[in-house]
Amino acid sequence: MIQKRTGLPEIFDSFAEARKNGFLAMKNIKDSGRGVVGQFCTYTPQEIFMAADLVSVGLCSTSDETIPEAEKVLPGNLCPLIKSSYGFAITDKCPYMYFSDLVVGETTCDGKIKMYELLGQEKNVHILELPKRQDTPEAKALWRAELVRLVERVEKDFGVTISEDRLREAIRKRNIERRLLKELYELSTMTPPPITGLRQLQILFGSQFKFDWDEKVAEIRGAIDSIRAAYETGERPVSEQAPRILVTGCPMGGVTEKVVKVIEEAGAVVVAFENCSGAKQMDRQCPEAGDPLTNIAEHYLQIGCAVMTPDRNRFELLDQLCDQFQVDGVVEMTLQACHSYAVEAHLIKAHLHSKGIPYLQLETDYGTADIGQLSTRAGAFVEML
C-alpha cells in the first residue's frame, strides 16, 4: 500500500490566492483520508476509482505557464497538452497533479507514452495499454485484461477491495452523470440555443472538478433547470440568425476557450462539442446488466478518437451530432504537433465536404499570440457560411 500525500508543497507560500485555495480544497479531501487518482484521458474508466471510493481528477493541463520548465526536458515541437501537463508535475504547481496518489495514463499517442515514462520518475504512474483497434476480439480482450490489471493495482496501492456490486453501482452513477450532461448540452439543439458555446464548454469542463458526486449531480440539474427557466421567460442570449457551429478535434478548455471565443465573436454560436470535454464521453450510456468490468471495457473502448485506426466511431458521432444540432459548419481545433488529429483532419474535411458541410481547421497552442490570426480565419469562415 502506498503512503497518501497530505502535506502542502514547499513552494505553497509563493502561490497566488486562487491557487492556494485550490491546494487547500484538495488538502481537505486528502485529510479526510480519501485517495486521489489523476487521469489524462477520456479512455480512463473512472468507474473503477469510484467503486474504490477514490477521487478521480483530470490532469490535462490547459495553460502554457509551465511549458518553459517542461521544455528543459521535452522537445519544443511537442503537443502543448503533453508539455504543460508534465511541466505542472515537475513544478508542483497543480493541486490535482500534486495530490494524486496514483496517475493513470494510456498508450494513446507517442508523445504521451514517452512523457509518462518521464513522469514515472516523479509520480506513482500506472499505464494502460490501449489497443489501436476497437473491433477485433483480441483488442477487446486486451483492453479488458488491462482493466483487470488496473483494478489489481488500485486494490494494492490503496488497500481496498473492489467488488462487482460496487462497480455496478459506479456504472449506474456515472450513467446518471452522463445523462444529465447530455441533457444539458442537448438544450443547444434548440434554435436559437439557450446558452453560448463558451458557457456550455465552461459547464462541461468545470463538471470534471467537482468531487462530491451528489453535489455535482444536483448542480448540473440546477444548471439545466435555470437555463430552461430563463429561456421560457424569453431570455435569448444568442441570435436566431447566428450560424450554428460544431467544434471537433483535440481536448479543449482553459486557454483554448479562445477558439470558441473567436467563433462566437464573429457572430456564430457553438452548439456542440465533439471532443473530450463534450459529447464523446456523454453521448452513450454504459450497459448496466451483465459483467460490470466487461461492460466498462466495451463502453470505453468504443470512444471515437484519432488514436484509433480506423476511427469509424468518431465519424459516426460527428454525423449524428451534425444532424441533431442542425449544424451550419464544423470547426476542428488541432493542437500543434498532435499528429493523430492533424492527419485525420484531412479525412474529416473530405467526409464533411461530401455531405456539403463547410469545415475549417484551426491549429493552435496554449499561447495567446495567435488570437489575431485565429479571429481572421474564424471570421472569414463565419462570413462564408
Binding site: 440568425q241 495567435d370 489575431g372 490570426q373 481572421t376 480565419r377 471570421g379 472569414a380 462570413e383 462564408m384
Partner: protein
Amino acid sequence: MMKEITVGIDCGSAACKGALLREGAVISFCVKPTGWSPKETARLVLAELLQQAAVDREDVYVVATGYGRVGIDIADRAVTEITCHALGAEYLLPGVRTVLDIGGQDVKVISVGDGKVLSFQMNDKCAAGTGRFLEMSAHRMGLDLTAFSALLETGKSCALSSMCAVFADSEIVSLLASGKSREEVAGGVVRSVVTRVVTLTGRVGVASPILLTGGLAGLNGLRIELERQLVHPVISLPLSRFAGAIGAAKVQGRR
C-alpha cells in the same frame, strides 16, 4: 438604410488602402503607409477619400478590413480581408476563381465562386513567402522594391535553400559574397516566395482565372514566376492592390 456611396478601408501591416464607390463603381482611391497607428491612418485615408469625392461622412457607409480592422473606430462595420479580397477580386475580374493575396505579413490563397469565399488557406506567424520577406531581401541588397523588381526583368535566378526569413537573410549575404549577381539572388528570393505560395495553393486547389492581389501585385517578375510554377495564367490589374478595399466597399447589404 442602404447608402449609395460606400467606402472600404483595408488596413494591412504595411499599407492602408482606401476606395470610395458610388453606386458600385470606384470613384476614388488612396493609399498611405500604415505607420504605427492603423486607427489614425484610417482616419486620414477616409478624410482624403471624402475630400476627393466631395461628400460628407454621413453620406457614406464605411467598412474596415485588414489586420487593423478591429481598432478602426470610424467604420460602420468590420469584415475580414478574406471575404473582402474575394468580393473585390470579383469586381475587378468578374468570374475570378482563385485569389492570391500576397501582403506584408501574410499570404492567402482564396478559392472564389460568384465573389463568395469557397475555401481559403493562409500562412502567418512566419515571414516565409510574405512581402516583408521580399522587402527585407531587397534592403539586404541595398535596393528598394522598384529597383528589386527591375532586377527580376532579367529572368535570372539561383536556388535559395532556406524558407526562413532569418536564415535566408544570412544566405543572401553568403550568396552575394560568393559572387552571385544581384539579379540572380533577386530571382532566387522571388522563387522561394512563390514556392511557399504554391504550397498553400496545393491545399485549396487552383482554378483559372487567377487574380494576384495585395501589396506585391505590381511586381511583374513575381507574377511571371507564379505562372511558371502554377502552370496557369496569373493576372494582375492596376487596381489589384486595392482589391481588399474595393471588396470592403462592396460589403454593404450582405449578411
